[in-house]
Amino acid sequence: MGTLPGWLRQHVAALRALLVFTVICGALYPLVITAVAQLPGLKDKANGSLVSANGKGVGSSLIGQNFTDKDGNPLKQYFQSRPSSAGDGYDPTSTSASNLGPEDTVDTLPDPALVKAGKEDENAKTSLLSTVCTRSKAIGELEGVSGARPYCTPSGVGAVLSVLGPRDAAGVVSKPTRVISLNEACPATPFLATYKGVKVECNTYGEDYSTGQVVPVRGQAPARPVVPADAVTASGSGLDPHISVEYAKLQVNRIAQTRSIPVGQVTALIDKHTTGRAAGFMGEPSVIVLELNIDLDKTAPYKG
């Protein structure tokens, strides 16, 4: 390369260097690792920790699944997984979290005209708070416990008001003229009758309440609701194979009843499929839902 000008020589060297490293790091390295992965003990894991039921592959013990019917309603005979934001739920080809923030509390209501016509309003958006409230209420009803949570209305949406009126020096509306329950579309009866002496109205579609002060209302629900946190929040991957031990225990009575088996038998199965903290301090104790459900089908088949 002695005859090439200096700047070009650098680039030729760069191209050659990149090719060399592509061979070493981009071909040899992954292939050697793949070869090592064929060793017994590693092979099954490298291939995705696949599990089967009745001799048929049904998925991976690391990837969560929906246990719902075609319409998305929970199948009562199975332990339910966490909510998922991956595609339509537990879709490994579009893994995702909800990415909604901690103050995402106000819904964008759908156009009632479209709803009436049976169409979907693309501009409508349910806030994270309302999503959590709706899930909690549904799980409470399914398991026969209270689904109440702080900042949730009894109807299962976010308890958030828009307080309209003049702002004081601190930017607070202390003497409201109108108060609207933002997430409750008319003709709903708002969760609160009055706020600071003013009657609370439902949200009329098309009216602009954005000048009001947004006030979430805590309500009387206990700080530690009966329905556990993991049951009402989506995971990061949308593929979370686990639920908390608390959420599994919440489902025990329903499972025992639907499958006509003693509660003790179900609890024992939960223990069997619970992974404790690694080395005693890493992570959280978790229950593998798919393996638990497979074991249920094996030991106490559902005769529904």
Binding site: F21, P30, I33, K45, A46, T93
Partner: protein, 553 residues
């Protein structure tokens, strides 16, 4: 054991492991970069590349080599993605769209690994393995090479020679990154990370539904993704994906990998300048900042202030059950303190104050401990500025390790510091100025602004993590963030190497009573203080509009 106690043990165990490993690894890296001999494989490589490994380079030649290698890397990686449908193992995916391919090429070459695409639906096995993963190695090696060249500027006297880029690049890749990555990949497979070339295949689930089980050379990519502080996930969900990070203990291993080299390089620095105590001082600054930040992130997440977290009774949105809140927060703090940017939980759903700390971590310039190599040179620049400021205050001669910090040196160091804030603030301002670019925000109000600010902070600092709600695979964001990544990486590198050149030329000044000692707790405290003051002054207004407005009621 309660969740919080277990979490504290988790964090402490990682810090202890790093404290134990940083000395032997730092010494090993010192030997790698100062060894005279080349092994047979390396000699072969130099022959193929066509360079003389004994030839020393002055700073401008070293910088040109870095830029040439990076430019070629961007072009090749761009072409690779555009042609993926013509190559094998593409899984039938179409060519990557031009603006995404540009963004991704720059992203991986600059060690940012910002991802405007979703791995499982965009990139075939071959592009992942032989395109993206190769940059995971060499972009990290480039960072280390530049850091070592910079340290040589302090260690050498009356010379223009800073070493040979091709030798440093080759040694960093083959002797440091590759062996640890091999070990890491095998450990991760044992934990359940997948490593296969099986096509994605559908299975019928227990309830009769359909689910596609994906594959890929994930473990081999995962190990170097963390070790090289790259952070580009094989899948969209990154290290939250159970195939990338299946258990609580692989989570520990991944955090360890992403911190270990950056925390060990100060030791290498100390050995190279012949004063181990200088290395201890630098690592102490990093550790102080890191521990404060980890504590703040964890505390904010455990306290879970905010409407939704209080309704849920935990900040569990976007976190995986197997990791829990504290181990997720530890990962988040570590990934933003380094230039990694991989995530095991989704920062957009973090509490307002927890998210603010993550932003602040990146705004520190990623120096605690920072990216592989870039963390060390970033921290040394801050030390240089501290020496200068302290010198002004007490009337002492500004000098660091016997080298005078004169007008030229302090100009280069200041310019270095100014590059990323300029990119972050100008970029965010432009994005917020137009309705069309504002439409990319998923959340509204201050949280939406945080998404934009986070994106530009992440790109300009070469981090790559995201408040992932924002839609960034638009031509504007792909181009703008691509430019931020490129300028945010290469302008500082040029300035660092120029500074190294002017330091190496100097004859060291003998230590006198007027010399400010740079290894005592006093100096450590000054660097920490200066870093925080500089960053606070620069970014406070922007933070006040975003996470602080949202989090403080």
């Amino acid at each position: 054991m309660s969740s919080t106690t277990a979490g504290i043990v988790f964090i402490v165990s990682l810090l202890v492991a790093l404290a134990l490993v940083h000395v032997p690894l730092g010494d090993y890296m010192y030997r790698v970069f100062s060894a005279r001999k080349h092994n047979r494989l390396e000699r072969g490589i130099y022959k193929v590349i066509g360079v003389d490994p004994e030839a020393e380079q002055k700073w401008s030649v070293y910088a040109k080599s870095v830029l040439a290698f990076s430019l070629i890397s961007v072009l090749v990686l761009y072409g690779f993605q555009r042609l993926q449908d013509k190559l094998f193992l593409s899984l039938g995916f179409a060519p990557v769209p031009d603006h995404v391919a540009w963004n991704t090429a720059v992203s991986f070459v600059t060690n940012t690994n910002w991802q405007a695409y979703s791995g499982e639906s965009t990139m075939g096995y071959l592009v992942q393995m032989s395109g993206l993963a190769v940059q995971n190695f060499v972009s990290a090696a480039v960072g280390m090479a530049v850091a070592i060249a910079f340290v040589r500027g302090f260690a050498r006297r009356k010379t223009e020679d800073l070493g040979n880029f091709w030798v440093d690049l080759t040694r960093a890749t083959l002797r440091i990154l590759l062996p640890i990555a091999v070990l890491g990949a095998i450990v991760l497979i044992a934990g359940g990370v997948v490593q296969n070339f099986t096509d994605p295949h559908a299975v019928t689930t227990l309830t009769g539904g359909q689910q596609t089980i994906t594959g890929g050379a994930v473990a081999s990519q995962e190990a170097i993704k963390d070790l090289g502080t790259n952070g580009g996930g094989y899948y969209n969900a990154n290290s939250a994906h159970p195939f990338e990070n299946p258990t609580a203990w692989t989570n520990w291993v991944e955090i360890f990998l992403l911190l270990v080299i950056s925390f060990s390089l100060p030791r290498t620095f100390g050995r190279l300048v012949g004063q181990k105590r200088q290395g201890y001082a630098i690592v102490a600054v990093m550790a102080v900042l890191a521990i404060v930040s980890i504590t703040a992130t964890t505390a904010a997440q455990v306290a879970h202030h905010g409407t939704v977290p209080e309704a849920v009774a935990a900040a569990s949105e976007g976190t995986e059950q197997r990791f829990g809140i504290v181990d997720s927060a530890m990962f988040a703090a570590s990934t933003t303190l380094t230039s990694t940017g991989s995530v095991n939980s989704f920062h957009d759903s973090y509490t307002s104050l927890g998210g603010a700390v993550l932003l602040l971590n990146m705004m520190l310039g990623e120096v605690a401990p920072g990216g592989v190599g870039s963390g060390l040179y970033g921290m040394l620049i801050l030390a240089v500025i501290t020496v200068f400021v302290a010198g002004l205050m007490v009337g002492r001669t500004p000098e660091f390790l016997g080298k005078k910090i004169g007008p030229r040196e302090i100009k280069l160091a200041s310019l270095y510091f100014l590059v990323t804030p300029a990119l972050v603030l100008i970029g965010s301002a432009i994005a917020m100025a137009f309705a069309k670019t504002r439409a990319s925000m998923l959340n509204s109000g201050p949280h939406g602004f945080s998404e934009v600010l986070y994106a530009f902070t992440s790109a300009s600092n070469n981090n790559g993590s995201a408040f992932a709600g924002i839609t960034v695979n638009t031509p504007f964001y792909d181009t703008a963030l691509g430019l931020c990544m490129a300028f945010g990486r290469f302008l500082p590198i040029i300035l660092v190497l120029a500074l190294a050149g002017s330091l190496a030329k100097q004859a060291p000044v003998p230590e006198s009573v007027g010399t400010l000692p740079t290894h005592r707790p006093q100096f450590i405290g000054m660097v920490v203080g200066l870093t925080l003051v500089l960053v606070a002054l620069t970014f406070f207004p922007a933070l006040a509009l975003g996470p602080l407005a949202e989090g403080i009621h």
